[in-house]
Amino acid sequence: MAIDVATVRKVARLARIAEPEERLASLADELNGIIAWIEQLNEVDTDGVEPMTSAEAVALPMREDVVTDGGSAEKVLANAPKRAGGFFVVPKVVE
Protein backbone atom coordinates (compact mmCIF):
# COMPACT_ATOMS: atom_id res chain seq x y z
CA MET A 1 0.00 0.00 0.00
CA ALA A 2 2.54 2.58 -1.15
CA ILE A 3 1.74 6.21 -0.43
CA ASP A 4 1.81 8.41 -3.54
CA VAL A 5 1.87 12.18 -3.84
CA ALA A 6 -1.92 12.35 -4.21
CA THR A 7 -2.35 10.43 -0.94
CA VAL A 8 0.03 12.76 0.90
CA ARG A 9 -1.88 15.76 -0.47
CA LYS A 10 -5.15 14.24 0.73
CA VAL A 11 -3.83 13.31 4.18
CA ALA A 12 -2.23 16.74 4.65
CA ARG A 13 -5.58 18.26 3.77
CA LEU A 14 -7.35 16.00 6.29
CA ALA A 15 -4.80 17.03 8.93
CA ARG A 16 -5.16 20.72 7.98
CA ILE A 17 -1.45 21.19 7.39
CA ALA A 18 -0.40 23.22 4.34
CA GLU A 19 2.41 21.26 2.69
CA PRO A 20 3.94 22.96 -0.38
CA GLU A 21 3.67 20.95 -3.67
CA GLU A 22 7.45 20.60 -3.87
CA ARG A 23 7.56 18.94 -0.43
CA LEU A 24 4.97 16.24 -1.24
CA ALA A 25 7.30 13.82 -3.06
CA SER A 26 9.90 13.79 -0.28
CA LEU A 27 7.15 13.42 2.32
CA ALA A 28 5.77 10.45 0.40
CA ASP A 29 9.22 8.86 0.52
CA GLU A 30 9.53 9.46 4.27
CA LEU A 31 6.06 8.14 5.03
CA ASN A 32 6.61 5.09 2.79
CA GLY A 33 9.81 4.32 4.69
CA ILE A 34 7.93 4.36 7.96
CA ILE A 35 4.89 2.46 6.67
CA ALA A 36 7.09 -0.20 5.02
CA TRP A 37 8.74 -0.78 8.40
CA ILE A 38 5.34 -0.92 10.10
CA GLU A 39 4.06 -3.56 7.66
CA GLN A 40 5.93 -6.26 9.62
CA LEU A 41 2.91 -6.24 11.94
CA ASN A 42 1.21 -8.41 9.31
CA GLU A 43 3.42 -11.29 10.47
CA VAL A 44 1.54 -11.39 13.80
CA ASP A 45 -1.45 -13.70 14.05
CA THR A 46 -4.17 -11.57 15.62
CA ASP A 47 -7.18 -13.71 14.77
CA GLY A 48 -9.74 -13.45 17.53
CA VAL A 49 -7.68 -10.90 19.50
CA GLU A 50 -9.65 -8.10 21.11
CA PRO A 51 -8.15 -4.66 20.25
CA MET A 52 -6.49 -3.07 23.28
CA THR A 53 -7.72 0.50 23.61
CA SER A 54 -6.54 1.19 27.15
CA ALA A 55 -3.62 0.21 29.34
CA GLU A 56 -6.03 -0.18 32.26
CA ALA A 57 -8.40 -3.04 32.94
CA VAL A 58 -10.81 -0.81 34.88
CA ALA A 59 -13.93 0.81 33.45
CA LEU A 60 -13.98 4.58 33.17
CA PRO A 61 -15.51 6.19 36.25
CA MET A 62 -18.78 8.09 36.14
CA ARG A 63 -19.50 11.29 38.01
CA GLU A 64 -22.53 13.38 38.76
CA ASP A 65 -23.60 15.47 35.78
CA VAL A 66 -23.14 18.78 37.54
CA VAL A 67 -21.22 21.98 36.86
CA THR A 68 -17.79 21.77 38.52
CA ASP A 69 -16.01 24.71 36.97
CA GLY A 70 -16.73 27.89 35.07
CA GLY A 71 -17.23 31.60 35.36
CA SER A 72 -13.68 32.30 34.24
CA ALA A 73 -14.12 33.97 30.85
CA GLU A 74 -11.06 36.16 31.32
CA LYS A 75 -8.85 33.13 31.94
CA VAL A 76 -10.33 31.31 28.96
CA LEU A 77 -9.69 34.29 26.70
CA ALA A 78 -6.29 35.21 28.13
CA ASN A 79 -4.31 33.44 25.39
CA ALA A 80 -6.61 34.24 22.46
CA PRO A 81 -4.74 35.25 19.30
CA LYS A 82 -7.60 37.69 18.59
CA ARG A 83 -10.45 38.75 20.83
CA ALA A 84 -13.12 41.39 21.07
CA GLY A 85 -14.71 41.98 24.43
CA GLY A 86 -15.71 38.60 25.83
CA PHE A 87 -15.41 36.77 22.49
CA PHE A 88 -12.85 34.96 20.37
CA VAL A 89 -12.50 36.53 16.93
CA VAL A 90 -12.34 33.85 14.23
CA PRO A 91 -12.43 33.91 10.43
CA LYS A 92 -15.83 33.83 8.75
CA VAL A 93 -17.16 30.27 9.15
CA VAL A 94 -20.52 30.43 7.32
CA GLU A 95 -20.51 31.92 3.81
Binding site: L14, A18, E30, I34, I35, W37, M52
Partner: protein, 490 residues
Protein backbone atom coordinates in the same frame (compact mmCIF):
# COMPACT_ATOMS: atom_id res chain seq x y z
CA UNK B 1 28.23 27.20 46.96
CA UNK B 2 28.94 24.31 44.59
CA UNK B 3 28.76 21.93 47.56
CA UNK B 4 25.02 22.53 47.81
CA UNK B 5 24.40 21.56 44.17
CA UNK B 6 26.30 18.30 44.68
CA UNK B 7 23.85 17.07 47.28
CA UNK B 8 21.30 14.41 46.52
CA UNK B 9 17.69 15.42 47.06
CA UNK B 10 17.60 13.29 50.20
CA UNK B 11 20.76 14.89 51.60
CA UNK B 12 19.41 18.35 50.75
CA UNK B 13 16.12 17.64 52.53
CA UNK B 14 18.06 16.36 55.56
CA UNK B 15 20.23 19.50 55.51
CA UNK B 16 17.16 21.72 55.29
CA UNK B 17 15.52 19.83 58.14
CA UNK B 18 18.60 20.19 60.36
CA UNK B 19 18.88 23.87 59.34
CA UNK B 20 22.43 23.31 58.04
CA UNK B 21 21.38 25.70 55.25
CA UNK B 22 18.22 27.46 54.16
CA UNK B 23 16.12 26.88 51.08
CA UNK B 24 17.09 30.35 49.93
CA UNK B 25 20.77 29.35 50.10
CA UNK B 26 20.43 26.09 48.24
CA UNK B 27 18.05 27.66 45.73
CA UNK B 28 20.46 30.53 45.01
CA UNK B 29 23.26 27.99 44.48
CA UNK B 30 21.11 26.23 41.89
CA UNK B 31 19.99 29.47 40.23
CA UNK B 32 23.68 30.33 39.77
CA UNK B 33 24.39 26.85 38.41
CA UNK B 34 21.53 27.22 35.91
CA UNK B 35 22.83 30.61 34.74
CA UNK B 36 26.34 29.22 34.33
CA UNK B 37 25.14 26.27 32.27
CA UNK B 38 23.33 27.98 29.40
CA UNK B 39 25.67 26.21 26.95
CA UNK B 40 23.71 23.03 27.71
CA UNK B 41 20.42 24.63 26.62
CA UNK B 42 18.64 22.52 29.26
CA UNK B 43 16.34 25.31 30.44
CA UNK B 44 14.04 27.07 27.98
CA UNK B 45 12.76 29.42 30.67
CA UNK B 46 14.54 30.32 33.90
CA UNK B 47 12.36 31.56 36.74
CA UNK B 48 14.93 32.75 39.32
CA UNK B 49 12.67 35.35 40.96
CA UNK B 50 9.88 32.85 41.40
CA UNK B 51 12.40 30.34 42.74
CA UNK B 52 13.71 32.75 45.38
CA UNK B 53 10.15 33.72 46.37
CA UNK B 54 9.18 30.06 46.71
CA UNK B 55 12.37 29.37 48.67
CA UNK B 56 11.66 32.19 51.11
CA UNK B 57 8.13 30.91 51.59
CA UNK B 58 9.53 27.42 52.21
CA UNK B 59 11.94 28.77 54.81
CA UNK B 60 9.06 30.57 56.50
CA UNK B 61 6.98 27.38 56.56
CA UNK B 62 9.88 25.46 58.04
CA UNK B 63 10.37 28.13 60.71
CA UNK B 64 6.69 27.70 61.64
CA UNK B 65 7.13 23.93 61.81
CA UNK B 66 4.91 23.37 58.78
CA UNK B 67 7.47 21.99 56.31
CA UNK B 68 6.20 19.54 53.69
CA UNK B 69 8.06 16.46 52.45
CA UNK B 70 9.88 18.39 49.70
CA UNK B 71 9.97 21.76 51.39
CA UNK B 72 12.62 24.07 50.00
CA UNK B 73 14.05 21.66 47.41
CA UNK B 74 14.74 23.33 44.02
CA UNK B 75 13.67 21.26 41.02
CA UNK B 76 13.15 21.68 37.27
CA UNK B 77 9.91 21.17 35.35
CA UNK B 78 9.72 19.72 31.85
CA UNK B 79 8.06 22.33 29.65
CA UNK B 80 5.23 19.90 28.91
CA UNK B 81 3.64 20.52 32.35
CA UNK B 82 1.35 23.52 32.46
CA UNK B 83 2.47 25.96 35.14
CA UNK B 84 0.07 28.71 36.11
CA UNK B 85 1.29 32.10 34.96
CA UNK B 86 4.56 30.64 33.60
CA UNK B 87 4.98 30.17 29.84
CA UNK B 88 4.49 26.57 28.72
CA UNK B 89 5.38 25.69 25.14
CA UNK B 90 5.91 21.92 24.69
CA UNK B 91 8.94 23.37 22.84
CA UNK B 92 6.76 24.04 19.81
CA UNK B 93 6.24 27.34 17.99
CA UNK B 94 2.51 26.63 17.89
CA UNK B 95 2.33 27.27 21.65
CA UNK B 96 5.04 29.94 21.43
CA UNK B 97 3.77 32.35 24.08
CA UNK B 98 1.11 30.26 25.82
CA UNK B 99 0.75 31.16 29.50
CA UNK B 100 -1.47 28.60 31.26
CA UNK B 101 -4.16 29.99 33.56
CA UNK B 102 -4.00 26.70 35.52
CA UNK B 103 -1.49 24.33 37.09
CA UNK B 104 -0.97 20.67 36.13
CA UNK B 105 -1.93 18.25 38.88
CA UNK B 106 1.58 16.76 39.10
CA UNK B 107 3.27 20.13 39.57
CA UNK B 108 0.51 21.25 41.96
CA UNK B 109 1.31 18.14 44.05
CA UNK B 110 5.00 19.08 44.09
CA UNK B 111 4.27 22.67 45.18
CA UNK B 112 1.82 21.35 47.80
CA UNK B 113 4.77 19.39 49.24
CA UNK B 114 7.00 22.47 49.22
CA UNK B 115 9.21 22.04 46.14
CA UNK B 116 10.75 25.15 44.53
CA UNK B 117 10.62 25.72 40.75
CA UNK B 118 13.86 26.80 39.03
CA UNK B 119 12.34 26.97 35.54
CA UNK B 120 11.07 25.04 32.55
CA UNK B 121 13.14 22.37 30.86
CA UNK B 122 13.76 21.68 27.19
CA UNK B 123 12.27 18.66 25.42
CA UNK B 124 11.65 17.26 21.98
CA UNK B 125 8.73 19.16 20.46
CA UNK B 126 5.48 17.73 21.94
CA UNK B 127 7.73 15.01 23.44
CA UNK B 128 8.15 13.52 19.97
CA UNK B 129 11.76 12.48 19.62
CA UNK B 130 14.61 10.54 21.18
CA UNK B 131 17.42 13.10 20.98
CA UNK B 132 15.90 16.45 21.99
CA UNK B 133 16.70 17.71 18.47
CA UNK B 134 13.09 18.46 17.49
CA UNK B 135 12.73 21.25 20.09
CA UNK B 136 11.95 24.68 18.64
CA UNK B 137 14.54 26.01 21.10
CA UNK B 138 17.28 23.80 19.65
CA UNK B 139 18.80 20.64 21.11
CA UNK B 140 19.99 20.11 24.65
CA UNK B 141 23.67 19.20 24.91
CA UNK B 142 24.53 16.23 27.10
CA UNK B 143 26.85 17.28 29.95
CA UNK B 144 28.69 14.00 29.32
CA UNK B 145 31.36 13.81 26.64
CA UNK B 146 33.40 10.90 25.40
CA UNK B 147 36.70 10.58 27.25
CA UNK B 148 39.16 12.85 25.45
CA UNK B 149 36.48 14.11 23.03
CA UNK B 150 34.65 17.38 22.75
CA UNK B 151 31.84 16.50 20.32
CA UNK B 152 28.36 17.47 21.50
CA UNK B 153 26.30 14.41 22.39
CA UNK B 154 22.54 14.10 22.74
CA UNK B 155 21.12 13.73 26.25
CA UNK B 156 18.40 11.56 24.69
CA UNK B 157 14.78 12.51 24.50
CA UNK B 158 12.22 13.55 24.84
CA UNK B 159 13.04 14.56 28.44
CA UNK B 160 16.55 15.67 27.43
CA UNK B 161 16.45 18.93 29.37
CA UNK B 162 15.31 17.16 32.54
CA UNK B 163 18.05 14.51 32.29
CA UNK B 164 20.82 16.98 31.40
CA UNK B 165 19.85 19.40 34.17
CA UNK B 166 19.86 16.65 36.81
CA UNK B 167 23.15 15.17 35.54
CA UNK B 168 24.81 18.62 35.44
CA UNK B 169 23.60 19.36 38.98
CA UNK B 170 21.44 22.28 37.95
CA UNK B 171 18.52 20.95 40.01
CA UNK B 172 17.98 18.29 42.66
CA UNK B 173 15.48 16.45 40.49
CA UNK B 174 13.13 17.09 37.60
CA UNK B 175 9.74 16.13 36.27
CA UNK B 176 9.64 14.24 33.00
CA UNK B 177 7.16 12.30 30.88
CA UNK B 178 7.42 9.00 29.06
CA UNK B 179 5.30 7.92 26.08
CA UNK B 180 7.73 5.42 24.54
CA UNK B 181 10.89 5.78 26.63
CA UNK B 182 11.20 9.53 27.13
CA UNK B 183 12.13 9.27 30.82
CA UNK B 184 14.23 6.10 30.75
CA UNK B 185 16.36 6.60 27.62
CA UNK B 186 17.54 10.13 28.62
CA UNK B 187 18.22 8.83 32.14
CA UNK B 188 20.39 6.08 30.64
CA UNK B 189 22.23 8.58 28.41
CA UNK B 190 23.06 10.92 31.30
CA UNK B 191 23.86 8.57 34.19
CA UNK B 192 20.66 9.45 36.08
CA UNK B 193 17.73 7.50 37.49
CA UNK B 194 14.32 7.72 35.83
CA UNK B 195 11.08 5.91 36.47
CA UNK B 196 7.94 5.75 34.40
CA UNK B 197 5.30 4.57 36.83
CA UNK B 198 2.26 2.44 36.06
CA UNK B 199 -0.13 4.11 33.63
CA UNK B 200 -2.61 5.99 35.81
CA UNK B 201 -0.30 6.54 38.81
CA UNK B 202 0.27 10.18 37.93
CA UNK B 203 -2.50 12.42 36.70
CA UNK B 204 -2.16 13.56 33.10
CA UNK B 205 -4.27 16.63 33.80
CA UNK B 206 -2.46 19.77 32.68
CA UNK B 207 0.29 17.91 30.82
CA UNK B 208 0.34 18.77 27.12
CA UNK B 209 -1.02 15.60 25.50
CA UNK B 210 0.92 13.54 22.98
CA UNK B 211 -0.58 10.01 23.01
CA UNK B 212 -3.06 9.80 25.84
CA UNK B 213 -3.17 6.02 26.28
CA UNK B 214 0.63 5.93 26.64
CA UNK B 215 1.68 9.24 28.27
CA UNK B 216 2.76 9.04 31.88
CA UNK B 217 4.70 11.42 34.12
CA UNK B 218 7.61 10.45 36.34
CA UNK B 219 10.77 11.86 37.90
CA UNK B 220 14.42 11.98 36.84
CA UNK B 221 16.81 12.15 39.78
CA UNK B 222 20.37 11.30 40.78
CA UNK B 223 19.59 8.32 43.04
CA UNK B 224 16.92 5.65 43.30
CA UNK B 225 15.85 7.06 46.67
CA UNK B 226 15.53 10.58 45.23
CA UNK B 227 13.33 9.24 42.42
CA UNK B 228 11.19 7.47 45.03
CA UNK B 229 10.78 10.67 47.08
CA UNK B 230 9.74 12.67 44.01
CA UNK B 231 7.34 10.04 42.67
CA UNK B 232 5.62 9.80 46.06
CA UNK B 233 4.77 13.50 45.76
CA UNK B 234 3.90 13.47 42.06
CA UNK B 235 1.54 10.47 42.13
CA UNK B 236 -1.99 10.24 43.45
CA UNK B 237 -5.58 9.89 42.29
CA UNK B 238 -7.04 12.88 40.48
CA UNK B 239 -10.72 13.03 39.50
CA UNK B 240 -9.77 15.47 36.73
CA UNK B 241 -8.05 12.65 34.79
CA UNK B 242 -10.51 9.82 34.17
CA UNK B 243 -7.60 7.38 33.67
CA UNK B 244 -5.98 8.32 36.99
CA UNK B 245 -6.17 5.19 39.16
CA UNK B 246 -8.13 5.49 42.43
CA UNK B 247 -5.39 3.87 44.51
CA UNK B 248 -3.30 5.04 47.45
CA UNK B 249 0.28 6.14 46.86
CA UNK B 250 2.74 4.22 49.02
CA UNK B 251 5.82 5.88 50.51
CA UNK B 252 8.06 4.67 47.70
CA UNK B 253 11.26 5.61 49.54
CA UNK B 254 10.43 3.01 52.21
CA UNK B 255 11.07 0.30 49.59
CA UNK B 256 14.62 1.45 48.89
CA UNK B 257 17.06 -0.65 50.89
CA UNK B 258 14.62 -3.52 51.44
CA UNK B 259 15.99 -7.01 50.88
CA UNK B 260 15.37 -8.46 47.43
CA UNK B 261 16.24 -11.98 48.54
CA UNK B 262 14.04 -14.60 46.98
CA UNK B 263 12.63 -12.35 44.24
CA UNK B 264 12.42 -14.00 40.84
CA UNK B 265 13.88 -11.88 38.04
CA UNK B 266 13.04 -12.55 34.43
CA UNK B 267 15.56 -12.03 31.65
CA UNK B 268 13.71 -11.78 28.34
CA UNK B 269 15.68 -13.51 25.62
CA UNK B 270 14.11 -11.35 22.87
CA UNK B 271 15.97 -8.31 24.23
CA UNK B 272 19.26 -9.73 22.92
CA UNK B 273 19.05 -7.90 19.61
CA UNK B 274 21.43 -8.04 16.66
CA UNK B 275 24.07 -5.36 16.60
CA UNK B 276 23.82 -4.50 20.28
CA UNK B 277 27.25 -3.37 21.53
CA UNK B 278 29.08 -6.08 23.50
CA UNK B 279 29.48 -3.64 26.39
CA UNK B 280 25.73 -3.41 26.85
CA UNK B 281 25.40 -7.17 26.78
CA UNK B 282 28.22 -7.42 29.32
CA UNK B 283 26.57 -4.83 31.57
CA UNK B 284 23.33 -6.79 31.41
CA UNK B 285 25.20 -9.95 32.47
CA UNK B 286 26.79 -7.95 35.26
CA UNK B 287 23.36 -6.76 36.41
CA UNK B 288 22.13 -10.36 36.45
CA UNK B 289 25.15 -11.33 38.56
CA UNK B 290 24.54 -8.47 40.99
CA UNK B 291 20.92 -9.50 41.52
CA UNK B 292 21.98 -13.13 41.98
CA UNK B 293 24.45 -11.99 44.63
CA UNK B 294 21.61 -10.11 46.33
CA UNK B 295 19.68 -13.36 46.56
CA UNK B 296 17.42 -13.12 43.51
CA UNK B 297 16.60 -16.10 41.37
CA UNK B 298 17.18 -15.49 37.66
CA UNK B 299 14.72 -16.99 35.19
CA UNK B 300 14.88 -16.79 31.41
CA UNK B 301 11.52 -15.67 30.05
CA UNK B 302 10.11 -15.09 26.59
CA UNK B 303 8.27 -12.00 25.36
CA UNK B 304 7.72 -13.25 21.83
CA UNK B 305 6.08 -10.11 20.40
CA UNK B 306 8.83 -7.71 21.48
CA UNK B 307 10.00 -6.92 17.94
CA UNK B 308 6.50 -5.78 17.00
CA UNK B 309 6.21 -3.26 19.82
CA UNK B 310 7.89 -0.37 18.00
CA UNK B 311 5.93 -0.70 14.75
CA UNK B 312 2.69 -1.00 16.77
CA UNK B 313 3.71 2.06 18.77
CA UNK B 314 4.35 4.03 15.58
CA UNK B 315 0.73 3.49 14.62
CA UNK B 316 -0.92 3.95 18.02
CA UNK B 317 1.09 7.00 19.14
CA UNK B 318 0.79 9.00 15.87
CA UNK B 319 -2.92 8.12 15.63
CA UNK B 320 -3.56 9.48 19.11
CA UNK B 321 -1.29 12.46 18.43
CA UNK B 322 -3.10 13.38 15.22
CA UNK B 323 -6.31 13.45 17.20
CA UNK B 324 -4.90 15.24 20.27
CA UNK B 325 -3.08 17.88 18.22
CA UNK B 326 -6.22 18.75 16.26
CA UNK B 327 -6.86 21.27 19.05
CA UNK B 328 -4.08 23.53 17.72
CA UNK B 329 -6.28 25.44 15.31
CA UNK B 330 -5.07 28.96 15.98
CA UNK B 331 -8.44 30.09 17.31
CA UNK B 332 -8.36 29.98 21.12
CA UNK B 333 -4.67 30.08 22.01
CA UNK B 334 -1.24 29.79 20.46
CA UNK B 335 -0.06 30.82 17.04
CA UNK B 336 -2.43 32.03 14.30
CA UNK B 337 -1.36 32.64 10.71
CA UNK B 338 -4.17 34.25 8.77
CA UNK B 339 -5.29 32.81 5.44
CA UNK B 340 -7.95 33.75 2.89
CA UNK B 341 -10.56 31.64 4.66
CA UNK B 342 -11.01 29.43 7.72
CA UNK B 343 -9.49 26.27 6.22
CA UNK B 344 -6.50 28.14 4.89
CA UNK B 345 -6.00 29.75 8.29
CA UNK B 346 -5.96 26.32 9.93
CA UNK B 347 -3.55 24.96 7.31
CA UNK B 348 -1.14 27.87 7.43
CA UNK B 349 -1.19 28.04 11.22
CA UNK B 350 -0.40 24.35 11.62
CA UNK B 351 2.21 24.39 8.84
CA UNK B 352 4.04 27.27 10.51
CA UNK B 353 3.60 26.13 14.09
CA UNK B 354 4.48 22.43 14.02
CA UNK B 355 8.00 21.12 13.46
CA UNK B 356 8.85 18.53 10.80
CA UNK B 357 8.74 15.46 13.07
CA UNK B 358 5.44 16.54 14.58
CA UNK B 359 3.96 17.03 11.11
CA UNK B 360 5.28 13.66 10.00
CA UNK B 361 3.59 11.96 12.94
CA UNK B 362 0.31 13.82 12.46
CA UNK B 363 0.30 12.76 8.80
CA UNK B 364 1.07 9.12 9.67
CA UNK B 365 -1.68 9.25 12.27
CA UNK B 366 -4.21 10.77 9.91
CA UNK B 367 -3.26 8.18 7.28
CA UNK B 368 -3.65 5.11 9.52
CA UNK B 369 -6.98 6.42 10.81
CA UNK B 370 -8.33 7.34 7.38
CA UNK B 371 -11.10 5.44 5.62
CA UNK B 372 -9.80 2.24 4.05
CA UNK B 373 -6.70 1.98 6.24
CA UNK B 374 -8.18 2.01 9.74
CA UNK B 375 -8.60 -1.78 9.98
CA UNK B 376 -5.34 -2.63 8.22
CA UNK B 377 -3.21 -0.39 10.41
CA UNK B 378 -4.86 1.07 13.49
CA UNK B 379 -7.01 -1.90 14.49
CA UNK B 380 -4.17 -4.29 13.69
CA UNK B 381 -1.82 -2.30 15.95
CA UNK B 382 -4.33 -2.38 18.82
CA UNK B 383 -4.51 -6.17 18.49
CA UNK B 384 -0.73 -6.48 18.47
CA UNK B 385 -0.70 -4.22 21.53
CA UNK B 386 -2.89 -6.78 23.32
CA UNK B 387 -0.44 -9.55 22.30
CA UNK B 388 2.42 -7.55 23.83
CA UNK B 389 0.49 -7.02 27.07
CA UNK B 390 -0.32 -10.76 27.16
CA UNK B 391 3.40 -11.55 26.83
CA UNK B 392 4.01 -9.57 30.02
CA UNK B 393 1.06 -11.20 31.80
CA UNK B 394 2.53 -14.62 31.04
CA UNK B 395 6.01 -13.57 32.18
CA UNK B 396 4.71 -12.08 35.44
CA UNK B 397 3.07 -15.39 36.18
CA UNK B 398 6.59 -16.72 36.67
CA UNK B 399 8.67 -13.75 37.84
CA UNK B 400 8.40 -10.64 40.02
CA UNK B 401 10.27 -8.23 37.75
CA UNK B 402 12.30 -8.13 34.54
CA UNK B 403 15.84 -6.90 33.97
CA UNK B 404 16.88 -5.53 30.54
CA UNK B 405 19.18 -2.89 29.09
CA UNK B 406 17.51 0.54 28.81
CA UNK B 407 18.76 1.56 25.37
CA UNK B 408 20.63 -0.21 22.56
CA UNK B 409 23.55 2.28 22.67
CA UNK B 410 25.19 4.97 24.77
CA UNK B 411 24.51 8.65 23.97
CA UNK B 412 25.18 9.39 20.29
CA UNK B 413 26.35 12.60 18.66
CA UNK B 414 23.83 15.34 17.87
CA UNK B 415 22.92 15.05 14.19
CA UNK B 416 23.81 11.35 13.96
CA UNK B 417 20.32 10.01 13.40
CA UNK B 418 18.27 13.08 12.59
CA UNK B 419 17.97 12.22 8.87
CA UNK B 420 16.55 8.76 9.40
CA UNK B 421 13.28 8.61 11.36
CA UNK B 422 13.24 4.81 11.67
CA UNK B 423 16.85 4.69 12.97
CA UNK B 424 15.84 7.27 15.58
CA UNK B 425 12.71 5.30 16.53
CA UNK B 426 14.84 2.17 17.18
CA UNK B 427 16.33 3.90 20.24
CA UNK B 428 13.15 3.04 22.11
CA UNK B 429 13.25 -0.68 21.30
CA UNK B 430 13.65 -1.77 24.95
CA UNK B 431 11.46 0.89 26.55
CA UNK B 432 8.36 1.12 24.36
CA UNK B 433 6.89 -2.28 25.27
CA UNK B 434 6.28 -1.04 28.81
CA UNK B 435 4.20 1.93 27.62
CA UNK B 436 2.03 -0.28 25.43
CA UNK B 437 1.34 -2.59 28.39
CA UNK B 438 0.97 0.28 30.91
CA UNK B 439 3.62 -1.17 33.25
CA UNK B 440 6.19 0.62 35.42
CA UNK B 441 9.80 0.77 34.19
CA UNK B 442 12.90 2.23 35.82
CA UNK B 443 16.31 3.03 34.34
CA UNK B 444 19.35 3.40 36.54
CA UNK B 445 23.03 3.95 35.74
CA UNK B 446 25.03 0.75 36.07
CA UNK B 447 28.33 1.33 34.28
CA UNK B 448 30.10 3.04 31.40
CA UNK B 449 31.13 2.10 27.88
CA UNK B 450 34.72 2.18 26.62
CA UNK B 451 34.41 5.93 25.96
CA UNK B 452 33.40 6.54 29.55
CA UNK B 453 29.75 7.25 28.71
CA UNK B 454 27.06 6.05 31.12
CA UNK B 455 24.91 3.00 30.35
CA UNK B 456 21.62 2.13 31.99
CA UNK B 457 19.80 -0.99 33.07
CA UNK B 458 16.02 -1.19 33.06
CA UNK B 459 13.75 -2.88 35.59
CA UNK B 460 10.17 -3.63 34.57
CA UNK B 461 7.51 -4.47 37.14
CA UNK B 462 3.92 -5.57 37.47
CA UNK B 463 1.24 -2.90 37.29
CA UNK B 464 1.24 -0.83 40.52
CA UNK B 465 4.30 -2.68 41.83
CA UNK B 466 6.75 0.23 41.68
CA UNK B 467 7.75 -0.70 45.25
CA UNK B 468 9.53 -3.84 44.05
CA UNK B 469 11.32 -1.78 41.40
CA UNK B 470 12.56 0.64 44.05
CA UNK B 471 13.85 -2.27 46.16
CA UNK B 472 15.57 -3.87 43.18
CA UNK B 473 16.84 -0.50 41.95
CA UNK B 474 18.29 0.17 45.38
CA UNK B 475 20.06 -3.19 45.35
CA UNK B 476 21.47 -2.65 41.85
CA UNK B 477 22.52 0.89 42.68
CA UNK B 478 24.41 -0.33 45.72
CA UNK B 479 26.12 -3.11 43.78
CA UNK B 480 26.98 -0.93 40.77
CA UNK B 481 28.20 1.92 42.98
CA UNK B 482 28.10 4.20 39.95
CA UNK B 483 30.12 7.27 40.92
CA UNK B 484 30.73 8.69 37.47
CA UNK B 485 29.76 12.26 36.72
CA UNK B 486 30.13 14.59 33.78
CA UNK B 487 33.30 16.66 34.05
CA UNK B 488 32.32 20.28 33.90
CA UNK B 489 33.20 21.88 30.53
CA UNK B 490 30.26 24.28 30.21
Amino acid sequence: MSGLTDLTLKAALDGLASKAFSSEEITRAHVEAVEAARALNAFVLETPDKAIDMAKAADARRARGEAGPLDGAPIGIKDLFCTEGVRTTACSDILGSFVPPYESTVTANLWRDGAVMLGKLNLDQFAMGSSNETSCFGPVVNPWRKAGGNADLTPGGSSGGSAAAVAARLCLGATATDTGGSIRQPAAFTGTVGIKPTYGRCSRWGIVAFASSLDQAGPIARTVEDAAILLTSMAGHDPKDSTSLPVDTPDFASFVGKSVKGLRIGVPKEYRVDGMPAEIDALWEQGIAWLKDAGCEIVEVSLPHTKYALPAYYIVAPAEASSNLARYDGMRYGLRVDGANLTETYEKTRAAGFGEEVKRRILIGAYVLSAGYYDAYYLKALKVRRRIAEDFDAAFGKVDALLTPTAPSAAFALGDKSDDPVAMYLNDIFTVTVNLAGLPGMSLPAGTDKSGLPLGLQLIGRALDEGTLFSLGGALEKAANFQGRAERWW
